[in-house]
Symmetry: C2
């Protein structure tokens, strides 16, 4: 038999369909003997419960969707890993969606999935607040690396992290930094800039911003050139991808890193440990962000779970000191 159903099992086992159903879903409510008999028959027939039929009734799909603003960025990879890991641990299925940096695609994809998943984790969503609120009203939503009142979120502590970056630069004698900004609709970009500026201010050094730039290696050229129009001795790039592009362009222009200028990135992607010079960058437990986000989501999907978990998780960052930062050149 191709795909046996509970009817087939029930017939073969000489019981009612509900008994078969119970043997699988609420095993305690069947006598041990019948249960074992049913399970044995089911196994013999190769029966597998049909999750769709189950979902149709229960409204629960055992599936969560993860939406990533740009799957091209290796950074998200870690988030995906963490999310996949956690979902699997609870036997949940993880659906992956790439928004290609387009709010419209992001929104459409989410709407398409709204009735087939139990909830969404959105990584660095580019959607405007209103859209997020509207989606959160339909389904449980957890944000990763973005915050919005009322919606649970998991973020790395970039305020603290940016302060560490600035302290690090100040201790090396830098008095002027420039932030190469990420996309305009990136919450992360504004968060980082405001944290950087605050820290710079309180430590008495100058900070300015140029950009926005798409956070890709290929944009590093324009970003580096932008940075060189300032008098900054330290460049803080929106992420490692951009930072790597900046370092490449700087080398091309004969500007030495870190002798002439220091460069700092964000995310601590795999490649930042491999390039030359190795990149100083603000890392953190990204896998853990993915893990935590899915965990919160699963909790929200559980009855009474909504209150158990703190809705706003802030994970510590970690400033990874490598070769791209050094003492400030004389000005």
């Amino acid at each position: 038999m191709a795909h046996p159903t509970i009817y087939d099992v029930a017939a073969a086992a000489g019981v009612a369909t509900s008994t078969v159903s119970r043997a699988f879903s609420t095993p305690t409510r069947v006598s041990a003997r019948t249960r074992e008999h049913v399970l044995a028959v089911a196994a013999e027939l190769g029966y597998r419960p049909n999750p769709h039929a189950r979902a149709l009734f229960s409204g629960r799909h055992h599936t969560v969707a993860m939406v990533v603003s740009d799957i091209t960025n290796p950074h998200y990879f870690e988030l995906i890993r963490g999310a996949e890991l956690r979902a699997k641990a609870s036997e949940y299925t993880l659906v992956l969606v790439n928004a290609e940096e387009s709010p419209r695609i992001e929104y459409d994809q989410i709407q398409r999935l709204v009735s087939s998943v139990d909830g969404f984790v959105l990584a660095a969503s580019r959607l405007p607040d209103e859209n997020l609120e509207q989606i959160a009203a339909q389904r449980p939503v957890v944000l990763m690396n973005r915050e919005l009142g009322g919606i649970p979120s998991v973020v790395l502590d970039h305020v603290q992290g940016c302060r560490q970056i600035v302290e690090h630069l100040v201790s090396l004698g830098h008095r002027h930094l420039v932030y190469l900004a990420g996309p305009r609709n990136s919450w992360m970009a504004s968060t980082r800039w405001s944290a950087l500026r605050t820290a710079a201010e309180s430590l008495g050094i100058a900070a300015e911003r140029v950009g926005p730039f798409m956070p890709k290696v290929s944009q590093g050229g324009a970003a580096a050139d932008g940075a060189l129009t300032t008098r900054a001795t330290a460049i803080v790039a929106h992420n490692d991808l951009l930072a790597i592009g900046v370092v490449q362009r700087l080398a091309q222009r004969g500007v030495r890193v870190p002798d002439d200028v220091s460069v700092v990135g964000f995310d601590d992607i795999f490649a930042s440990d491999l390039c030359t010079p190795r990149l100083t960058t603000l890392g953190g437990a990204h896998v853990e962000v993915g893990r935590a986000a899915v965990e919160i989501l699963l909790d929200m999907a559980t009855p009474n779970g909504r209150t158990r978990t703190p809705p706003r998780v802030v994970l510590p960052t970690e400033l990874v000191l490598r070769g791209s930062t050094g003492t400030a050149r004389e000005t």
Copy 2:
């Protein structure tokens, strides 16, 4: 109304449920006027067809699963991108599963999903042939970077690629290479080794193999040390991750690349262009592999589609020459 159904739409539009259904699924079989009316009402109510109810009846889920042997490897990332891209283009949902290099996990995950997806693309599957055949008997399956008679597959042309590698090395004066093998259950590993050996033989140079090694940077140490026990002047590592680890270890031991020994990797991952020296590696259109695999799968799921597409796609590789290979040292 939270989740309007066709009943709600039918009631509001003053038609039968079947008419609403037809308006969505077989628009030609409703008069233009009623169709537009129904669609208008549906839109107003915010009606969205429930894919599970649809799947329950049709058996088609508009979903494909991609199983990856180890999501940790950035190489798969490209495959995932391609697959995601192609699935989205047909409004299919892509479910992502990580097998963590464990055949058992891989098998269990697949069985879990068998009744909820329309098919599987398996990237570098570690499953034994029998399992693959059994799964392919249940659902459409497309293999990526693995071949098995009767099951459609998309692979890069590693036979040709390995020959290019060997020719490249021979032209640099190398007379002895060592292959640092990947996992024992990796089809890729045996394919590469046999292609390498054949090419070496026909070009009259020595080839030997050490390993197997897990293809991770961390294994590069052991792999490099293994390679140094041979008299080879060229190292061909199972993939870039391993190659990067090897290069690091070599540097540690004071062995210069490429002056003392040349190193070649596979996959052309992002990082291989960033490390020092930059890695010579056998790349190819990995995104295209992912794309093609999903395309074949979707074709198989379409009636009459099974015959339309060639079941075995071989895409060209591309030897990317960078700094890690050079003329052989005198022996």
